[in-house]
Every structure is written in C-alpha cells, then in structure tokens.
C-alpha cells in the first residue's frame, strides 16, 4: 500500500432547504413560524423540513503526488466536497483523513481590503491563506513579480483594474506551498493569457510532487493537468479513475449539443436553398460536442432546395470562439466531390474530418451554400464544439498555453552528429 494523502470514507453532507429554513432568519420570522406551526399543525407536517444530500456516502483515496480532477455538472457537490476537505464546513457523517499541510484556494483574493495597498494586501491575504510572516517576507518579491503589478504595489487596490486585482490575488495564492492543494474553479477568471499562466503554475505545483485536488469545468485543463479524475453527480461518486476515459464518459453522458433549432440561426443569403439541420457526430455515429485531438469529426447536414438549381457548392468553416479567428475553410471540391444540378427537395450530406489536430479550444461552425458568385445560405455559429488535448502529443504542458498556435502536427525530433 502506498502513501495516501487523503482518505475519505462514507462522507456525507446534508443541507436543509426550502421554506422551513429561509436564508436570512430573523427572530420575528422564527416566532411567527413557530406560532403558525402551533395553529396549523398539519401545514407543518406537509411542508416539513426539506433536506438534501449535497454529498452522499463518498469513499475514495488520493495518493500522495496525485493530481485529482473533480468533474460533474453544477450542483454535483464538487464545491461542497472541497469545503468539507478544507474544514470550512463539517460533514454530517463519515470521516476524511488528511495527511499533510492543506492549502485551499476556493476563491482568489479572500480578505482583500479595497483601502489597503497591494503590498499590504499581499501580507494580509497570505496570512489568511495560512502563510507565516517570515515566509511571506521571503516570497514577497516573487509574488509581486508574478503578479506583474510592480509599479502599483503601493497603490490602494481600489484603484486597480479588475484584471490587476485578480492577478495580484492569484499571485499570492500561487506561492502558497502546501503539501495538499485544493483548488476550486479559480481559473475561470481573467483573460486567456492569465488563465494560461495560472495553468502553468498549477502544473509546476503538480510536478513538484504535491497532491492537488482541482475542480473545473474546463475539460482541457483537467485532461492536461490531472493524473486521475473523479466524476460526481448529485453528491455521489459516478466514476474515479483514468483521465481520458472518465472525461469521455462524463462528456458523453452530459453532452449538450448546441442550439440545433434552425429558427434561431443567424443566416443570410439569396435563399433558394436552406440548411435545415446540422449534427456533429463522433466516429461511432453518436452525437458529440467534444472531441479529443486526433479523433474524427463528422458533420451531417440537411439541405432543402426550394427550387431547381444548376450548380451549388458547400463550405464548412471553423472559427475559434475565443479569438474569433477562422482557422479552417473546407469545401466539397477539396476531395473532388461535386454536387452538380439539384432538383427541388431535401438532400443530406456528410463531411468527415479524420484525425483532427486543432488545438484545444472552443470552435464554432459556419456552414454555407454557394451558387457561382453568391451566397445562397450562409449560417453562422450553427454549432459549437470543444477540442481537448489527448495523448497525441507526449508533452505534459498544456498546448493551449500557446495562444498564437492553432494547429498541431506530428513531428520527429532527434539529435544528429555535427559535421565539421
């Protein structure tokens, strides 16, 4: 048996919800409701105290040095689990054993005070996160450098831009050096460059052999950083194991395809023919909105011709959602496929993109029907999908760090003898 960092058994957490316990209690409310319950006894029993289990009967183990990603839909109990493990709230039942110093990062900038300067807030926030004064002093310069706000370190943070504020806050948190790091969705803030910096830092921490628990909805980040994944749903453990397979299973189960209702599409064109339905499929023919690098992407679309047309062509464009950059433009002629003349009526087409090597990011699909010289039907953002990093590249750092690169291609590397 190897060393465990965390061992959890039968862990459960119950919350009371509903009218029986309003969020803001006042004495008056309490008096009124107890009077009410005296008068209308039945009413009370029917309403009853509603409870729900945010976590129910969880059991798992985390090895030392493991980077565990926790995934699941909203309300699955991910944050509650982190709160219990960080000792912010106590479990209703069960035991969690933790071996090592815990640092939890459920929010960046906890305890920041707007009136205080950046320097003062670094000390304050670091102390709140559990750092010693001597430790803060030692790391102070590194924190300031990481945050990139050197110039403003003596300015009250109320004058900071929100970006600077978040950078400073994360810089403090990033220099926490616990044996076990618990991170909630903190990377959801800030711009792309900053998020990548955060991911880079997280990776560095993971490589130092620390144990990390990491909640995220960003499957790219999870698959890049984690050595194992735990999937929670309604407070229960659905799966806990290998990264890629768990992520795929989760994504398949919750796959939310984009708005396929053609009434909502933004379209323009002459309109002699229209695209009526579009589907994204994986190589097994199942609907899918998330693809691992190297997988096959299949787009199927139906076209309704309202009149006879002499000659049409189709194009498929991929646009990166974050940059608005068009990264692919495919047409049917690429592979020598011609549609030719078309009668009034419906036809179905399929585009297969084998071995897609687009970078991990979100993409939108633009579909178009062309007659010579004019756009017949141009539909923007008809579907959205996500690419996630797979083991196609053997590097461990996230590909998405390189914000200017959009496409991966296999390459061979070697050292060759020098010739004088």
């Amino acid at each position: 048996m190897s060393n465990f960092a965390i061992r959890v058994e039968n862990l459960s957490k119950q919350y009371r919800i509903g009218a029986s316990q309003p969020h803001y209690n006042t004495l008056r409310d309490q008096l009124v409701s107890s009077l009410k319950s005296l008068v209308w006894r039945k009413d009370r029993s029917s309403a009853g105290p509603t409870t729900f289990w945010a976590l129910s009967d969880l059991a798992f183990e985390v090895k030392q040095g493991e980077v565990l990603g926790i995934i699941g839909p909203n309300g699955a109990g991910k944050s509650t689990l982190l709160k219990v493990l960080s000792r912010i709230t106590e479990p209703t039942a069960g035991v969690a054993e933790i071996y090592g110093r815990v640092g939890s990062l459920l929010e960046v900038g906890t305890g920041f005070h707007a009136e205080l300067s950046g320097r003062e807030n670094i000390y304050l926030n670091a102390a709140i996160l559990g750092m010693r004064k001597a430790e803060i002093k030692r790391k102070f310069d590194a924190i300031v450098e990481f945050s990139g706000v050197e110039q403003f370190v003596d300015t009250p943070v109320k004058h900071y831009s929100s970006g600077m504020y978040v950078r400073l806050a994360f810089a403090v948190a990033a220099h926490l050096e616990p044996e076990i790091l618990i991170v909630d969705e903190v990377l959801a803030v800030g711009d792309i460059a900053f998020q990548n910096k955060c991911l880079g830092k997280m990776e560095e921490i993971a490589h130092e052999g620390r144990t990390v628990l990491f909640v995220s909805h960003n499957m790219g980040a999870i698959s890049n950083l984690c050595t194992s994944v735990m999937w929670l749903e309604q407070g229960k453990l659905v799966a806990h194991g290998e990264v890629q397979s768990t992520i795929s299973a989760y994504l398949k189960s919750s796959s939310v395809t984009s708005d396929t209702d053609s009434k909502h599409w933004r379209r323009h064109g002459t309109g002699e023919a229209q695209i009526t339905e579009v589907n994204l499929l994986d190589c097994d023919g199942n609907k899918c909105a998330i693809f691992r690098m190297g997988e096959t992407i299949i787009i199927e679309f139906d076209v309704e011709f309202f009149q006879r047309m002499a000659s049409v062509d189709f194009s498929v464009e991929f646009k990166r959602t974050d940059m608005g950059l068009h990264v692919l433009h495919l047409v049917n002629q690429d592979c020598g496929f011609y549609i030719g003349q078309s009668q009034k009526g419906k036809r179905r087409f399929r585009v297969e993109i084998p071995h897609c090597l687009l970078y991990p990011a979100q993409y939108q699909i633009i579909l178009c029907i062309w007659a010579p010289g004019t756009a017949v039907d141009y539909v923007e953002d008809v579907l959205e999908f996500t690419m996630i990093q797979s083991d196609i590249s053997r590097r461990t750092s996230p590909l998405s760090m390189h914000t200017q690169a959009i496409f991966y291609t296999p390459s061979q590397w070697q050292e060759i003898p020098m010739q004088d």
């Binding site: 209690n25 960080s86 479990p91 209703t92 054993e97 071996y99 005070h113 205080l116 102390a127």
Partner: protein, 294 residues
C-alpha cells in the same frame, strides 16, 4: 468538527493508520465533543490575529482628514459634553474629583468597551466571505475585533495623563492594578460579543439591537454619575453590571478614589466568567454551521 492534528497518525476506529513519516495528520468528522477549544490551532494562527488587528487599525481612519486623532476626539468630546451638562448644569456630584477627570477616566474603558462590542458583535457576518472560503479558528474573528480598539484606548490614555498633570493628581501604587481592570473590560467585551456575534449569524436583528443595548448599558454604568447616587437597596442589583466594577476600578487605580468593593468586583468577575464559558460553548456548538447559514 473534531480535528486532531498530530505528528504521527492517530489510529481511528474505522481504519488502521497508514504509514506516514512526519506529515501532519488530520481527521475530519462530525464533532461529538461538547466543548472543544483547540488552543494549539489558535496559537498556530496567532499571526492571522495580528494581521486582522493590523488591517482594522490601518483601515479605520483611511480617507479621514483627522486620521487617528479621532481616537482621542471621541472620548474627549463626550467628556466635554458630560462636563457641561451633568457637571455644570445638573451639578451631579463627582466624589470630590474634578468632574472632567471623573468623567474621562470612566469614558476611557467605556469607549473601549462599546467599540469592542459594536465591532465584535457583527464581526462574523462582516467577515462572511472569509468564513465561507478559508479555514482558520473562527474564534480569531471576534477576538481580533475585541483587541483592535485597544489601539484607540492607548491613544486616548495619553490625554488622560495630560489631564492628570493639569489637575495635579498623581496616581499611587494602585495604578499597577490598572491592567487587571482593563483585562476585565476586555473579557466582558469578549464574553458579550461571543453571544452577540454568534446570534447575529442566524438572526440579523442583533445588528440593530446593539446600538440600543450600548446606550442602555452606558446609563446603567457609573460614567456620568458616581455610584453613591444609587439608592442603597438597588446597589446589589446595580453591581451585577461588570462594567461598574471596571469603571470604579479605573477611578480607584488612577485617581485614588476610595477603593471599590472587591466583593462586588469578585462577583462581576464570576458573572463574566460564566458568561464567557457559556458564550464559548454556544460559539463552538454553532461554529461548524457558520459557513452554511451565514
């Protein structure tokens, strides 16, 4: 929550200990104990206490023109008003002491006390974001709020020294007992605010009650008038107020007034300790649900 921190793993009923070398071991499970104060954790987090106090002191007079002069002006103005109304117009006796000195000596511990209560009473809710996001011994929050007004107290104390020189009154050996009375004021504030701040987490009415409470409490304390004004038959009831002991103690220690009834002080100390223990139990029992209800 029962939290054990030990260098070597402690065996639990459910599972044999896993071999670890020197890493701290922590067990998180529903709390079973009645009163369990982890003094070790409090000590471990002493620097956080320092930083919270430091934050409050720093922030307190930011963006004010007069800055920390406010610490002196508040008791000073109250003293001037009291002297004008109670000393000059109402001619309230002041035990043969100059009325300004008589009032100011009482206002010092009182100002400390009322500030401590009004900060501490709402402190948990005011720091809700911290409670929701970070672990630390929750006791540190009301503790910091009770410690912070000491800074104002010491500034205002300098004025008292000046006044004593002006009126030509030198303190005797009694002055050495002053820290004890200050401690009594501090413990009274802590005990009261443990109740208030914990209640305030669940019942936000407390926030609105505190100003009333403090006003009432002030009139029930011998600040503007001497204890001798209270009819004999009410004295016993009156001395249940621990601040009476504190104020009388201050006057005795600094101004050499006749010594306070130490039986009364012993009684108020006992009341305070009971209140403190009760407050701690209540605080500890609800502590783990703070993050859920706040």
């Amino acid at each position: 929550m029962l939290v054990k921190v030990s260098a070597s793993p402690a065996p639990t009923s459910s599972a044999p200990p896993v071999s670890t070398t020197g890493r701290p071991h922590l067990v998180i499970q529903p709390r079973k104990g009645f009163l369990h104060i982890d003094f070790g954790a409090l000590w471990q987090y002493r620097e956080l206490l320092y930083f919270l106090v430091w934050r409050e002191v720093k922030v307190r007079y930011k963006q004010t023109i007069l800055g920390s002069a406010w610490a002196i002006l508040q008791p000073l103005f109250t003293m001037v008003i009291f002297t004008a109304i109670f000393g000059n117009f109402a001619r309230i006796p002041s035990d043969d002491l100059p009325y300004p000195l008589f009032a100011y000596t009482a206002l010092l511990p009182w100002t400390y006390f009322s500030q401590a209560i009004s900060r501490s009473g709402t402190s948990l809710v005011d720091n809700a974001n911290m409670i929701n996001k970070v672990y630390f011994p929750r006791l540190i929050i009301p503790l910091a709020a009770v410690v912070t007004p000491f800074v104002d107290f010491f500034l205002a104390f300098l004025v008292l020294l000046g006044m004593m020189i002006w009126f030509g009154i030198a303190p005797g050996w009694n002055a050495l007992a002053l820290p004890l009375f200050l401690l009594l004021a501090c413990v009274t504030a802590l005990a009261t605010s443990l109740w208030l701040s914990t209640l305030n987490v669940k019942y936000r009415d407390v926030r609105h009650t505190i100003p009333f409470l403090m006003q009432l409490w002030m009139y029930a304390s011998p600040i503007a008038y001497p204890v001798s004004l209270i009819p004999e038959k009410w004295r016993l009831l009156y001395s249940f107020n621990p601040m009476m002991g504190v104020i009388e103690g201050f006057r005795w220690a600094l101004l050499g007034k006749q010594s306070p009834d130490f039986r009364v002080i012993a009684m108020s100390t006992a009341i305070i300790l009971a209140l403190l223990v009760g407050g701690l139990i209540y605080f500890k029992c609800t502590e783990q649900t703070f993050a859920d209800v706040i």
